[in-house]
Symmetry: C2
Subunit: 630 residues, 2 copies
């Protein structure tokens, strides 16, 4: 059926379902959603179940939008008039895409009013649907910039969503039935994740990352004919914001991609932040930068965010659902349902099957699952990591020892993930008196990354959310944490009292950590604590191996007299035991498992162990292969 | 290096090697060959080893061509003047591509003269290089037409060969190194053979066949992005002329392919003949014909023939060598050498590892071999065929029995392959008095196919060649054989004496065999002998199963009272034992074997048996997969 006929038919169906008195003026596909335009948004809002009924009956994601949206400025005035001043409204964000206004307030309860009276009053006054959230305790400039940017391109974006909506719901013609996955990177290696799913109708790219530390051969095989022209792709899907999964998404737009990039909202924001940082780093190393901040903007303009659990059409025959992966903020297992019950395939991305201070363990049950592409970073039979609790005890010990002897602790860490885990561990250490009260300085992008974490509390685990909202105890706001935001303050930290410094980069390949190492390296009272994996060829690995004099430029040398410690166990990845456990707990049991995102021997070891233990067909694919699923 | 510089450098190298006095006027890539143009073709011809030395030192296929070729008509006159009349020159074929004149004579010795004196005289008189062959005992109209056609397009063809020559020797840029094979058909099925070899530099398609008896889903997956656009292919390579391997080659030209099709010379001629016949058959069944005879001509115009054992550049990083496959006339195992010693991969096409009356067993040793794609038609563990000798004994018995009781024998057979084997068996049967002297009528394309066999005696095995040339006993010319070339004669055969009729089609899906069956079916003295596999759904299979009344159109019925016999063992394929034997004798032992061209259970059975017995990594691929070789 042609799209226009399809929409007409849907409109008729909707008219049969909604009570008379509610006028449906228009029905339109916008991105993956079916948008119902109405003159009577309030009546719609009154019937809480109506949208659910429509979604179920039409098997579509439904959005209801008032036909005419009031001018945001006027609407803002009205909101501020209705809501009492002591609510502490900190921001109003009008999203023309959803017809919602996000009301950020220090006291959300006051905005909602007794039994929701204030909120209903707002709805009555303005066309916009109000949504109330607590003002993030730390403001993220990234989130603010992205929201502002998206508002500035709202017309373009509307046209884009309509185009995508029509494309998703296009007519299909093929009589063939098959499903293939082509490996474009990240097989028998860590880095440059990129997997192509294809059917006779559609093509979807899962991740598009870079290979860390490898500028020569760092891109996935995105130039092979399987994926060309790039605009033949229906969708790009991001599992999470780490650069080995998302760094080269902007490059796709440079090479002609014009479609959507699906991710969770935190992944979108963290990706943009890390991509811009990536450009800075690359710019320092070479003058061949792969793309500019313009392409990052283009990516954001084409991003479509989905929350965990929302089943979404992304192609005529493909539905995508994100599930918590427990790895970093917003990290997702991407589950694809192909055809009408034809096949189900999931990509774990990076995942952690252990509960951490920030996240719940990765989801292991799915409505259906035939094939799984599974990361194998710690897939080797000896890759057993210490328990998180033991790791923390060792960290406390190391910190205490250093402070006792009047030294300072340097903890190099990635901005996203491990930094926050270490922050929370140290905060609790101080609170529970396992380490002395001490200032913890955050230098580099860590603060901004933390801010993004506090913007999305729903992506943190229950315990942490309860601690923040019920107990009013936000550990990220603890007095101990001090942001280093000037060279002066950095000087003070260096020359000041014993303290802990968490700073980037995580593998000592540049960043403020170099300043600290230069200044604090010669003093043997200090300690450098590695909490993350140090890749071959990085300065971090060299220091671990015993390097004690590091040439810096052509005149300077860093002298390493400080103590070196390594505290395993803060990893965001499942270790070997957890990987095997994960397979044991998978619901349902898949027919095939592909082990990827690991060194060659680890992916092979894990694949053969899974086969031997569980008798599931396994493959440890190479890059550039194509596997038929059906 | 740019092509022009490369050619200039080659010219300088050549000038250093050839004796002074021989002028090299130009050097040019034409197709896979390096053509040296000279003003002194005679001096070149005098130095027999010079071309070999050049080929070895430059690692190229060398052709020497006189700068100016005499007008063919004048040259023809001169040849006829020099050669004595009793040589019986039957044809002169001037090939401007090679600068050769093919002299077909009944007595080649007379053309050559004592110690080659006449031949040297010819060389002296005309610029063309004379090549003498015996006049084929049966003239093939296909061969004649193809030669005439190629002569008529010689200018286009020269431009084409130059274009291809430049393309083969183009500069390469990729730093990547990989080799992949994508399965586009013929996996876990018989039919629609098509395999794509790709490297970062090049793409080659091996075979492009149809699926017999399956018009709905009969094409290989030539529309997937891996192979698009078709003109990005460097080459198409044909293993042999059966339709499940070559039927859709003309279609490639319709869809934009403009490159070369490599095959042996007999494969080119048989392919064209069978493609034209295929069009006739399809036209009778449906009005959706895939291509017309124009595209068959286009294919011929783009064909480049190679003899067994000739190592040929077909892409910047791929060398092709054909080896005897023992299956039908000109059938080849296609061996690809990738890069400079990087990898070697071969496709058996269909092959027979047993010596037959016509052909030597398939070649099993190669300079190098890492991966083999191997047919599995008889790959099931029960697919044991009788010895050829036993099969013939049974055939003799059946024929004798029938003749004795005054009946006629109908043997349905494919035009190419089995017909000739059965002809030779029956001829010997008569000669050695194992069956009574009897007329053997050939109806359908069998005669023309046989004519093509006699045009290429060098593609037959030694025994048969010796019998023909040394003993002067050409079995194909035996008096017993009578071509049925008119409806009148067919009527006479039907109403005449007891006899044997070999006729197409092989599975009773149309063709003259239907006439014979209609007329001879009701008489129980007659016999129908199947000598080949009858596919599911064909009339042949139905009769084997016991059908005794066959509706024909809406009024007629064929009544089957004649005796039905099946004589296995004339197959052109290796049976299970021979397949396993072949693997055992492979020199060198490959690292990987892929079993293809067989029913699902057979390819899987053979793959697992090879692995168990020989511990070679095996795969039974599905269509639409891509395997990384390196
Ligand atoms: Zn990650
Ligand atoms: Zn990763
Ligand atoms: Zn064949
Ligand atoms: Zn075949
Ligand atoms: Zn496999």
């Amino acid at each position: 059926m042609v799209i226009e006929d399809k929409l007409q038919e849907l409109k008729e169906q909707i008219n049969k379902i909604v009570p008379s008195g509610i006028t449906i003026s228009d029905v339109e596909f916008e991105g993956p959603e079916l948008v119902i335009y109405t003159d009577d948004p309030k009546q719609f809002a009154d019937q809480a179940d109506l949208i659910k009924v429509l979604a179920r009956d039409l098997r579509k994601r439904i959005v209801v939008r008032p036909n005419i949206l009031e001018d945001p400025e006027r609407a803002a005035q009205e909101i501020r008039t209705v809501v009492p001043e002591n609510a502490g409204i900190s921001d109003l964000f009008f999203d023309p895409e959803t017809g919602e206004v996000l009301i950020e307030a220090e006291k959300p309860g006051v905005v909602i009013g007794k039994n929701g009276v204030t909120l209903r009053e707002i709805t009555k006054q303005i066309g916009w649907t109000p949504k109330v959230v607590r003002t993030p305790p730390i403001e993220s400039s990234t989130v603010k910039q992205i929201r502002t940017f998206l508002r500035s391109v709202k017309d373009e974006r509307k046209a884009f969503l309509r185009k995508i909506g029509h494309r998703i719901h296009r007519e299909t013609t093929s009589k063939d039935q098959w499903l293939r996955v082509t490996t474009l990177g990240c097989c028998r290696e860590v880095g440059r994740a990129a997997f192509l799913i294809s059917t006779p109708e559609s093509k979807v790219l899962v991740d598009c990352g870079e290979k860390p530390g490898n500028t020569a051969n760092g891109t996935p095989y995105i130039y092979v004919p399987e994926i060309y022209p790039l605009d033949s792709l229906d969708a790009v899907v991001l599992t999470h914001a780490h650069l080995d999964h998302c760094a080269l998404v902007p490059l796709l737009f440079k090479y002609g991609y014009e479609g959507p990039v699906y991710s969770t909202p935190p992944t979108r924001d963290l990706s943009a932040m890390l991509q811009l940082d990536y450009l800075d780093v690359v710019r320092k190393e070479t003058d061949k930068i792969p793309y500019t901040s313009n392409e990052v903007k283009t990516y954001i303009k084409h991003s479509i965010t989905l929350n965990y659990g929302s089943v979404t059409d992304i192609a005529p025959d493909i539905k995508l659902t994100f599930h918590n992966a427990g790895h970093i903020l917003g990290s997702a297992i991407a589950h694809f349902h192909i055809g009408e019950g034809l096949y189900n395939i999931a990509f774990t991305g990076d995942f952690n099957y252990q509960k951490t201070r920030l996240f719940s363990p990765a989801v292991s049950s799915f409505p259906r699952l035939e094939a799984l592409f599974m990361e194998s970073t710690y897939g080797g039979s000896n890759d057993i990591q210490p328990q998180r609790r033991d790791a923390e005890e060792r960290l406390y010990e190391a910190v205490s020892t250093t402070l006792k002897r009047g030294g300072k602790v340097i903890i190099p860490a990635f901005a996203v993930g491990r930094s926050q885990e270490v922050m929370l561990a140290l905060e609790e250490g101080i609170r529970k008196k396992k380490i002395p009260p001490v200032k913890i300085y955050l230098d580099g992008m860590i603060r901004e990354a933390t801010a993004i974490h506090t913007t999305y509390p729903e992506y943190l685990n229950n315990d942490l959310r309860n601690q923040i909202f019920r107990e009013g105890l936000n550990p990220f706001l603890a007095d101990a944490f001090v942001q280093v935001d000037s060279p002066d303050l950095r000087e003070q930290v260096i020359s000041g009292e014993p303290c802990v410094i968490i700073t980037t980069s995580g593998m000592l390949s540049g960043g403020p950590v170099m300043e600290y190492l230069k200044a604090l390296g010669p003093d043997e009272r200090n300690m450098l604590i590695f909490v993350g994996y140090q890749a071959d060829g990085t300065l971090g690995r060299r220091i671990q191996k015993g390097w004690r004099e590091i040439p810096l430029g052509w005149r300077e040398t860093i002298v390493i007299n400080l103590e070196i410690a390594t505290t395993d166990g803060f990893s965001g990845h499942s270790d070997r035991k957890q990987l095997m456990n994960y397979v044991a707990h998978l619901q349902p049991r898949p027919e095939k498992i592909f082990t990827i995102h690991g060194d060659e021997n680890k992916t092979i070891d894990l694949a053969s162990s899974i086969y031997k233990r569980y008798r599931i067909e396994t493959h440890s694919p190479m890059n550039l292969e194509t596997y038929r699923m059906i």
